[in-house]
């Protein structure tokens, strides 16, 4: 197989700095050597490749934008985006692991935690010695998390937590869960540790998507959470949404990796597969498909770089993140489907990455705010009318 060289039709590399490119190349090398050779088997077996965790920690993939004093790389957001892009070229499940650890666990501890919480958790999470998960979604509250019923009651020395979360990435393998629950009617964040009494996290089985990622239910049955484990600096649901905004940003970049993997696979296949007298790449209908792919990849790439630059200047609006997440996930799914068509019957085999990406992207389109919810968020922003309450 040819080594993947990236897709860059508009010389988008000229918009990146030398170190941003180095970050991308290093992660690309990592993905080629460590993820791609093992991912299909893990996916088939529905297993998260745990052995990657120390390796990912060693190259610094966890919390890579956070300060060096916690053992992190203090990179900018464009470099972080390039990391998620390369990881998702490997697999959305692996990228999800890194997104959750970084944007949904380390980020909230960093942004809303006490100094003691930061000093204790962040270095361990950066080293991959501890794994985290983020519990917001509930069985009856997905797009509408403000309705959540998980709640905390104040008792001597801490809180009593009751309720359940669902669809939680890394739940079963996590050492610490960032759990959002209502206390006196206001959403608060709590650090629930794996061995707290009354806490369990059974794995959700039967997934046809994100099979190389662990998804779980979190159950809280009178779980005592000590005072030292409440995140002191949160301010309601807004804080949870700030985390999602971080993660969505990574997704907007990540899915471009899936797009590239599908395009690369389809392009190579189309050039070598002959039907009738010619390679199928020589037929106009196939060219139309390939041109669609490269066009959407190029647009998404340029969108992401500008989004990242705005984020690095602290000027990004959450609606801009919504637009990029919504567009890029949708286009990635379309690209995966078109790539599958080009590969014909081979497209359904796990010898090629296309069907796996396609199935993964169904989750990616739904989590971190569904396509429809981002439409409504943007709709409200441009019209001034909220179509949801």
């Amino acid at each position: 197989m040819n080594k993947f060289k990236g897709v860059d039709y508009f010389n988008a590399d000229s918009l990146l700095t030398e170190d941003e490119i180095m970050v991308r190349e290093s992660v690309r090398e990592f993905v080629d050597a460590e993820i791609i050779p093992i991912i299909e088997l893990n996916y088939r077996e529905g297993k998260f490749p745990f052995e990657l965790v120390p390796k990912m920690a060693e190259i610094g993939l966890f919390g890579s934008t956070l300060p060096q004093k916690y053992g992190c790389a203090a990179m900018n957001n464009v470099a972080y985006g390039l990391v998620t892009q390369e990881l998702e070229r490997g697999d959305s499940g692996i990228r999800s692991f890194v997104s959750v650890q970084s944007a949904l666990v380390m980020y909230p501890i960093y942004a809303f935690g006490s100094e003691e919480q930061k000093d204790f958790w962040l270095p361990k999470l950066a080293k991959g010695e501890k794994i985290g998960c983020f519990g917001l979604t509930e069985p009856d509250f997905g797009s509408n998390p403000s309705g959540m019923i998980t709640k905390a009651e104040k008792i001597d020395g801490g809180y009593l937590l009751n309720g359940a979360k669902m669809w939680i990435t890394n739940g079963t393998i996590a050492d610490v869960a960032v759990v959002w629950a209502k206390f006196n009617g206001v959403v608060n964040g709590f650090l629930v540790e794996k061995d707290f009494k009354g806490f369990s996290a059974p794995e959700t089985k039967g997934k046809h998507s994100l099979r190389a990622s662990v998804t779980s239910e979190l159950i809280f049955d009178n779980v005592f959470v000590p005072e030292s484990n409440i995140l002191p600096k949160t301010s309601g649901l807004k804080s949870a949404l700030m985390c999602l905004n971080q993660a969505r940003y990574g997704i907007a970049w990540g899915v471009v990796g899936s797009m590239m993997a599908c395009y690369d696979s389809a392009l190579n296949y189309a050039k070598s597969r002959k039907q009738f007298s010619k390679p199928i790449a020589a037929y106009q209908l196939t060219q139309d498909k390939l041109v669609f792919m490269v066009t959407e990849i190029t647009k998404a790439q340029l969108l992401n770089i500008q989004l990242g630059r705005l984020k690095d200047q602290n000027k990004v609006k959450f609606t801009q993140v919504s637009l990029a997440k919504r567009n890029n996930c949708q286009k990635a799914l379309e690209i995966a489907r078109v790539a599958r068509e080009i590969l014909g019957a081979n497209g359904i085999l796990d010898e090629y990455p296309v069907m796996r990406h396609s199935a993964n992207l169904e989750s990616v389109k739904t989590y971190e705010g569904t396509h429809e919810m981002h439409t409504l968020i943007l709709g409200e922003d441009i019209t001034g009318f909220a179509a949801f309450d």
Binding site: N2, K3, E18, D19, E29, E58, G60, S64, Q68, M75
Partner: protein, 248 residues
């Protein structure tokens, strides 16, 4: 102790090579360059040695402006200092060795790692030549390395087996595949490398004793032929092997 690693910046093994118009170089347009793969083993061994015994790792390259990229990568992997001996053109191995020897002498380093060969010109002589010029010991094609005080023990790959050899500092060690697993440039390493400066120096050039005249591509192979997919073609295959290929 200063540990020196010498690296070269070479075309990626996956590139399709085109020869330039003057036939003395390759056309670098569209070619991606990387650290010579054997030099990556050399860097890793230097870093591992530093982690054991302390000191600083100096990485040195001879090459044009673009060669800085390999120095940056070595810095990102964890090297402490980088020295760029600037030269844009063809240097024969002896010229390369003289310049490296000069630099190693001025750094006063007793332990030097290099790749056993550079995959661009494949001369496989620079480690030994440099050692000779410095009057250092040298062991090349090493698949293991250990240092105990002044004593160096290496395993070398030989046809059908390995040999264990001993020598002592000062020494130049030529790295072979299998010596170690080179680390990835970590994100922290890349950010730290950004802050390090690359020292630039000019290369001294004495006339090449081996001059490059021309680069040629190997004769292109005739495409294969499929006679059929079952036993019925065996007689024809035998006939062709005998009469056409004259192989049997």
């Amino acid at each position: 102790m200063k540990i020196v690693v010498c690296v070269s910046h070479v075309p990626d093994t996956a590139t399709k090579i085109k020869i330039s118009a003057d036939e003395k170089n390759i056309d670098s347009a569209g070619v991606s360059y990387v650290i010579n793969p054997y030099d990556e083993f050399a860097i890793e061994e230097a870093l591992k040695t530093k982690e054991k015994i302390g000191g600083e790792v100096y990485v040195v390259t001879i090459g044009n402006e673009a060669a800085k990229e390999s120095l940056r990568k070595a810095l990102a992997m964890g090297a402490d200092e980088a020295i760029h001996l600037k030269y844009d053109g063809y240097l024969d191995s002896l010229n390369v060795a003289k310049n490296l020897a000069e630099e190693i002498k001025s750094l006063n380093s007793q332990l030097v790692f290099m790749g056993k060969q550079s995959i661009d010109f494949d001369n496989c002589v620079v480690p030994q030549m440099t050692a000779e010029l410095l009057d250092y010991n040298s062991i090349s094609v090493c698949v293991s390395f250990s240092l105990d005080g002044n004593k160096v023990t290496c395993e070398r790959e030989i046809e059908g087996g390995k040999e264990v050899v001993e020598s002592q500092l000062p020494i130049i060690v030529g790295a072979q595949k299998g010596l170690n697993e080179p680390r990835y440039a970590s994100l922290k390493g890349i950010m730290a490398a950004k802050k390090k400066t690359i020292q630039e120096k000019n290369c001294t050039f004495t006339n090449n004793s081996v001059e490059l005249i021309k680069i040629k591509k190997p004769a292109s192979k005739n495409p294969g032929r499929i006679l059929g997919t079952d036993v019925s073609v065996v007689p024809e295959l035998v006939r062709l092997l005998r009469e056409e290929a004259k192989a049997i």
